[in-house]
């Protein structure tokens, strides 16, 4: 008997009671981004940590200016600068333990360097030498990811696998504001929350996805608000306040390590340079805006705090600058050496064993190289 046929006898009942899965209140970000520098909270910050952050920030800024200079000399194919965002980069590296994993985007070479990676190896991709210049397992740094947000599900899967194996490893995945519009961002956060994977997502909201401002990217109240829909906490932090970013990220990492599941952190920062050296930022933003953010510079903020509290003096600042200069000089000197590439590497790492088809093509290239060698009288490889 269908519902239509039993109409006379049908007695409507109220729907089953609806129960929200969780109270969204604890998941919602604070109304204001978390700040430490220049507030009472700064007094509780560890002076050694603040000095360490300062040294890493200054070195990071110098790294950014040096890498940008290398593009002008043709030593790097492209460089997406993180100038202005150094606090996020440095805090990301310092919030992790050695056994943890970092999943950087293409803009996050500085985070990889701050984690201890050889800067030349970190720049291999951008130099055009090879796609990844390091063994990801050595420093627990995934390859720099060029497609947007696709590294986020990798971080979730790795953290999930580590937990299945009983290892208390946390994965920190970095993405920009534009990347939050990608489908992989959604799928990664959803998987992470359902699996309660020990992952921290760090969104560096630097204002623009190349030229598109945040207002054209999302209608959400903040990017941190997106966490609520997945059932994970969202945190909002001043991305130029290195102490605050370190505090919030460290808390999220501890929470994940203790089995509390993922956290989404939105760091509000600004990309002072253009998207890459190939971009003209004057087409989509004004000087006044850039100047405002220069007034909220991560290095100046921390230097002011350290100086005010007598944690560093002029000699200390000079020593940090000197260290950064030496670092840049070493990088410059090494990057100015021509890399030696072996064309036969084209076939070396496609499969564990080359297919018969690749063996034929390898033989073809070898013959071409030998012919080239002979035609140059044996003087060139």
């Amino acid at each position: 008997m269908t519902v239509m046929e039993q109409r006379g006898a049908y007695r409507p009942s109220p729907p089953p009671a609806w129960q929200p899965r969780t109270d969204p209140a604890p998941l919602l970000p604070d109304a204001e981004p978390r700040r430490v520098l220049g507030t009472d909270a700064a007094a509780k910050a560890d002076p050694a940590l603040l000095r360490r952050l300062y040294a890493e920030l200054v070195r990071g800024r110098r790294y950014n200016t040096q890498a940008t200079a290398l593009t002008k000399q043709g030593r790097l194919a492209v460089y997406p600068s993180s100038t202005g965002q150094e606090a996020c980069e440095v805090a990301a590296a310092l919030a992790l333990q050695d056994r943890d994993w970092l999943f950087p985007s293409y803009r996050d070479t500085l985070a990889a360097v701050a984690r201890g990676l050889d800067p030349v190896q970190a720049l291999t991709l951008l130099r055009g030498d090879w796609h990844t210049g390091y063994d990801p397992r050595e420093h627990r740094v995934a390859p720099l990811c060029t497609p947007l947000a696709t590294q986020l599900p990798h971080a979730v899967g790795l953290a999930h696998a580590a937990r299945l194996k009983g290892d208390d490893v946390v994965a920190l995945a970095m993405v920009g504001d534009g990347g939050t519009s990608e489908g992989d961002f959604h799928e990664a956060l959803n998987f992470a929350a359902v699996w309660q994977a020990p992952v921290v997502f760090l969104v560096q909201n630097n204002g623009f996805a190349i030229s598109v401002p945040l207002a054209k990217q999302t209608a959400a109240p903040s990017l941190a608000h997106k966490a609520v829909g997945y059932g994970m906490p969202g945190r909002l932090v001043d991305g130029n306040d290195a102490a605050a970013v370190h505090e919030v990220l460290s808390a999220a990492v501890r929470h994940a390590r203790a089995g509390g599941g993922p956290t989404l952190v939105e760091a509000i920062t600004y990309r002072v340079d253009a998207h890459t050296n190939a971009d003209d930022a004057t087409r989509y933003r004004g000087d006044a805006e850039v100047e405002t953010w220069r007034g909220h510079d991560p290095i100046a903020l921390l230097e002011h705090e350290l100086t005010e509290r007598g944690l560093i003096d002029e000699a200390g600042i000079e020593a940090v600058r000197q260290d950064a200069e030496e670092f840049a000089a070493g990088l410059r000197q090494r990057m100015n050496q021509d890399p030696v590439l072996d064309p036969m590497d084209l076939f070396a790492h496609v499969y564990a064993e080359p297919t018969p088809q690749l063996r034929e093509q390898r033989a073809q290239l070898r013959a071409e190289l030998e012919a080239e060698h002979d035609s140059h009288g044996g003087t060139r490889r």
């Binding site: 990801p136 696709t150 599900p153 899967g157 790795l158 799928e187 998987f191 070396a348 496609v350 018969p356």
Partner: protein
């Protein structure tokens, strides 16, 4: 030596057995996908695995193919061997960015430091009366992506053997499971399923001397049927089952065509830009002086997969294959 007891078994059962044996042999093998756990998969290929190995090893994931494959990448980075199910051919497309940009390239991007031993199970092809998005033949997309192996079984024994080989491989392998052969039965010895062929070897399913039918997956039984029917015309057709599309077994295929001098490539997917064009070109390059006729293709039409009531007109059948064989200039031989 005792006589081996052969029993009828379906391809789906052999695939299940392969997954179970692989999981029992290696604790790092993890099966994951939508509905693979409690339900045992919509085709029941993962039936019983969650119960036997636990939900951590056979996991019902959220419904998101990019997420399924993307998290599998991270799991493989940490030393696991994920086996992911895409449920239906056309449902795999959201995962293509992960497949092409990461799965296929991670070994290459990291100069060999980080291979990804991921098996991607894709139930594919038509002939089961599925509505749209449930019958695509997507092999050309996979074949065009360097870094992937692509295999497709046509027999119960090969389903077992190729699946074990795929899971054991240190490289990503796309296993295209012909849906309409899931319930086909062969005599098989489930007590000793063995026959794990290395990936990359074609096999001559039927010997003949008049012409070679080059085919794979769901079209293999159709070609064998065509070969039987061709006997009435006096044609003795050889049938080569590729089993592996990448790597491609040029040696077996070329040896066959050199013997017969004539070849027809048969597959369900569209002919334009399809696997048959690549195969015909390879055969021509290697066997030109042995060929008595151009290499012909019998493929699905170059149309979106049709509705179920029309699919029999689209899929290459015995008659269409025999027509092509008839066009191979038989006068030359008689």
């Amino acid at each position: 030596m005792t006589t081996v007891a052969l029993k009828p078994a379906t391809m789906a059962q052999a695939l299940t057995r392969a997954l179970r044996d692989a999981m029992a042999a290696d604790p790092t093998v993890h099966v994951m996908g939508e509905d693979v756990g409690t339900l045992g998969g919509v085709f029941r290929v993962t039936d019983g695995l969650a119960k036997e190995f636990g939900e951590d090893r056979c996991t019902d994931t959220p419904l998101a193919e990019a997420g399924i494959l993307g998290t599998a990448v991270g799991m493989a980075m940490y030393g696991l061997r994920p086996v992911v199910e895409m449920q239906f051919d056309a449902f795999a497309y959201p995962a293509f960015e992960q497949l092409i940009s990461h799965v296929a390239k991670m070994r290459n991007r990291t100069r060999g430091a980080m291979p990804l031993p991921i098996t991607i199970r894709v139930p594919y092809g038509g002939g089961i009366g599925g509505v749209e998005h449930h019958s695509d033949s997507s092999e050309a997309y996979y074949m065009a992506t360097p870094g992937l192996h692509v295999v497709t079984p046509a027999t119960v024994a090969d389903a077992y053997g190729l699946m074990r080989a795929a899971i054991a491989s240190d490289d990503p392998v796309v296993v295209l499971e012909p849906k309409r052969l899931y319930w086909s039965k062969d005599s098989w010895n489930p007590d000793d399923p063995q026959t794990v062929e290395p990936i990359g070897r074609a096999v001559v399913r039927r010997s003949g001397r008049s012409a070679t039918l080059i085919t794979y997956g769901p079209s293999v039984p159709v070609c064998l049927e065509a070969a039987e029917a061709a006997r009435e015309e006096g044609w003795d057709l050889e049938v080569v089952d590729l089993r592996s599309l990448v790597p491609f077994d040029d040696d077996t295929v070329s040896a066959s065509v050199r013997r017969t001098g004539r070849a027809v490539v048969v597959h369900e997917s569209g002919g334009f830009g399809g696997p048959g064009g690549e195969i015909a070109a390879r055969v021509t390059e290697r066997c030109f002086h042995h060929l008595e006729a151009p290499v012909l293709r019998v493929a699905g039409f170059d149309i979106p997969y049709p509705p179920p009531m029309l699919e029999r007109h689209h899929l290459p059948g015995v008659d269409r294959i025999l027509d092509a064989v008839g066009r191979l200039q038989w006068e030359a031989e008689s």
